[in-house]
């Protein structure tokens, strides 16, 4: 009993091993730890490394015309998933999508998932055939696992039209006062019948 009391009274300081938590919004971590850029986890400050985009996922994709092409999808397709990265001060990534022809109706389901540690991202879908922005993101019905956030677009598209999908910073200020204005993301696109 006495030993239990001693243990109960003694353990009043948090014991948080390195790597226990994912980084929170604005790269938040427990005191004494810092957000590790490559893994988005809170680690001891001395071993934390800076964020950097994987060179393999960076493209010259800052305009709709130069956006990375998404492979042609069928009227009802599997999920196409790809990784992307917005480096610091990278205003947007564009992805080109062509709606298949011969479909009765096509609905595009787009999801962008990203770590909450760095700058939140947003989506915008533009019909490059008409030049009109046809959809912006909303909250997803199925939130991603802890440590990540996601935004979704579910939009009926016109068969045969070309579309451009923009992934860009949300711009709400959750960028560590400008010191974490970057993020990596996973883009998922699926076509289906509405």
């Amino acid at each position: 009993m006495r030993a239990w009391m001693l243990i109960a009274l003694a353990a009043c300081s948090p014991d948080i091993p390195s790597g226990s938590y994912e980084c929170g919004p604005n790269a938040a971590c427990p005191t004494g730890q810092a957000c590790d850029g490559p893994t988005n986890t809170c680690v001891i400050s001395s071993i934390a490394t800076a964020f950097a985009c994987d060179p393999g996922v960076e493209h010259d994709d800052n305009t709709p015309a130069t956006g990375t092409k998404i492979p042609q999808l069928a009227c009802v397709s599997n999920v196409f998933q790809t990784a992307g990265c917005l480096a610091a001060n990278d205003g947007q990534d564009w992805w080109q999508l062509t709606a298949p022809t011969g479909c009765v109706a096509v609905e595009a389901k787009v999801i962008v998932s990203y770590p909450v540690a760095f700058e939140p991202l947003a989506l915008a879908l533009t019909d490059t055939t008409t030049g009109a922005q046809v959809a912006t993101d909303t909250a997803c019905k199925n939130p991603p696992p802890g440590g990540e956030d996601s935004r979704c677009i579910t939009q009926t598209i016109t068969s045969g039209d070309d579309y451009a999908l923009a992934v860009k910073p949300l711009g709400m200020g959750d960028d560590c006062d400008g010191t974490c204005n970057f993020n990596r993301y996973t883009l998922s696109v699926q076509l289906d019948t509405p």
Partner: protein, 184 residues
């Protein structure tokens, strides 16, 4: 001041002597012996004379009676001790609160959860309550220590009565007279 004399007389039994054996028969035709010198007359020596006056005993008898604490002193010492216990109890409360908050954010393995403002609030609470616990433990301990010191320092005095015993022994015819006296 000599208040009382308590005397105890002891009559020591008279010294008994056994019957002396009969003298031996005189020897016949004793030779004339040379005359012996008369025994010396004892001289009175005042230094070696017995002193029958009461003599002091080697150790006094001391009677100590502790006085009672007054009510104000009891209330003061008890109040400080109670305050110390209360402060200690508050320290325990904050200690346990700090422990709960610390336990809530101390994982045994990677959580796959982000560090959010809720966790940060628990972290801050654990730290804050830990500091408060330390402060209250310190204050409570100081109060308890102060009450203990005050208890000792303000201990009421005692009434001392010293009794000086004396004794006297005087020989009497056929025995001795023993007397003991106390003065206080």
């Amino acid at each position: 001041m000599r208040l009382a004399w308590i005397a105890l007389a002891l009559l020591v039994p008279a010294r008994a002597f056994a019957d002396e054996p009969p003298p031996p028969p005189p020897e016949s035709a004793p030779a004339p012996a040379p005359t012996e010198a008369p025994p010396p007359v004892p001289v009175h020596d005042p230094d070696s004379a017995a002193d029958y006056r009461p003599q002091p005993m080697p150790k006094d008898i001391v009677i100590k009676v502790n006085r009672d604490r007054d009510t104000n002193n009891i209330l003061l010492v008890g109040g400080i001790a109670a305050a110390g216990a209360l402060l200690g109890a508050v320290g325990v409360y904050y200690n346990l609160d700090s422990r709960d908050a610390a336990a809530a954010i101390s994982p045994k393995m990677p959580t796959s959860q982000p560090w959010t403002s809720a966790q940060q609030a628990d972290y801050d609470r654990a730290h804050s309550s830990g500091v408060k616990a330390g402060v209250f433990y310190g204050l409570g301990g100081a109060a308890l220590l102060a009450s203990a010191v005050l208890f000792i320092v303000t201990a009421p005095g005692e009434d001392r009565t010293v009794i000086h015993p004396h004794y006297a022994i005087a020989p009497t015819r056929g025995g001795a007279f023993v007397a003991r006296a106390w003065s206080f």
